[in-house]
Amino acid sequence: MAATEQDILEGLGKIINEITGIPATEVTPEKSFVDDLDIDSLSMVEIAVAAQDEFGVEIPDDQLKNLKTVKDVLTFIQN
């Protein structure tokens, strides 16, 4: 069974919390990584790597730079 958007959001929240210390509850779809969550490019790479382990979807660097919001990542992983 494919993971639902809610499952991915929760998994992503956990990953972001582990890497950056930001509470998982703050990781909501409309949030921008840079402007709202203050996550830098190196942390984004770490998040992408952890997301690959968790969800089995590779997010290459050239795609990663286009993923501005949590929603963008959710959509990328689901597709």
Partner: protein, 317 residues
Amino acid sequence: MRILDTAPGAKVLALGHYQPSKVVTNDDLAKTMDTNDEWIQSRVGIKERRVADGESLVDMATQAGGKALAASGLSAADIDLVIVATCTLESQIPNSSAVVAHRLGIDSPGAFDVNAACSGFCYALAAADSAVRGGSAKHVLVIGAEKLSQWLDWTDRSTAVIFADGAGAAVVGPSDTPGIGPVVWGSSGDKYEAIRIPDRHGSLGQEGQTVFRWATTALHPVAKLACERAGVDPSELAAFIPHQANLRIIESIARKLGADNAVVARDIVTAGNTSAASIPLALSRMLERGEIRSGGLALILGFGAGLTYAGQVIEIP
């Protein structure tokens, strides 16, 4: 044909290091380029670094090598092989190892340089271990020395804030039990463009994100394999001393390695990234500061341009 008398094992007998006295802080760098202390510390983990102020690479290597030799209690005449790991030597020839040996009064040793960039010390140590166990050398002086400052574009804030100068050295000799574990080494030549000094007029360029991703995904399996090959569980490690590339890479690999009882080297904070020098520099400084103890097991892991990597478990002298 016959082979030489071999040794059952080899180990690191003593360490030494040298750093230039000139300290460059993040605030110093912020005066000449668009960067700041907070940005550098959060991205790279460096507070200050040392930069050569007149010292040549050979000067630094000689100082570090001389200290390791003195700490070993051996004399120059006991050394029959000198290996210098470096990628920043001023000259194409002669190599640095023969000159360093000459300056230390080591008479006619085998002498070669190793260029595996930031992995160089682990490659050189593996070569020394093999030479001692195979009987082609009895005591080897292994040095990691770099003068990155002369290969940097000091207006490029993506590299100038990271790299630094220094040297670290180890004396390797025979031992009844193994004190240097099997090396795990390899390379990813497909990423050869990720870290480069293209020619002698060029400066160091780095694709930071590519390297960061590689370092945080490809290296913890190498670290685990080096432990496995040595028959050591990561929980038995007293220290984990990876190349001091970036504090966030160091912490990421350490977390994934799961060496829960190990002191993790954070020498980069005050030494910067000194490429092939960073591991012996960290080892020597940590021993001097009492952060690690003689007799404990340390996993060392080099990685860098090539891309290359190498790691092994060693007994701390």
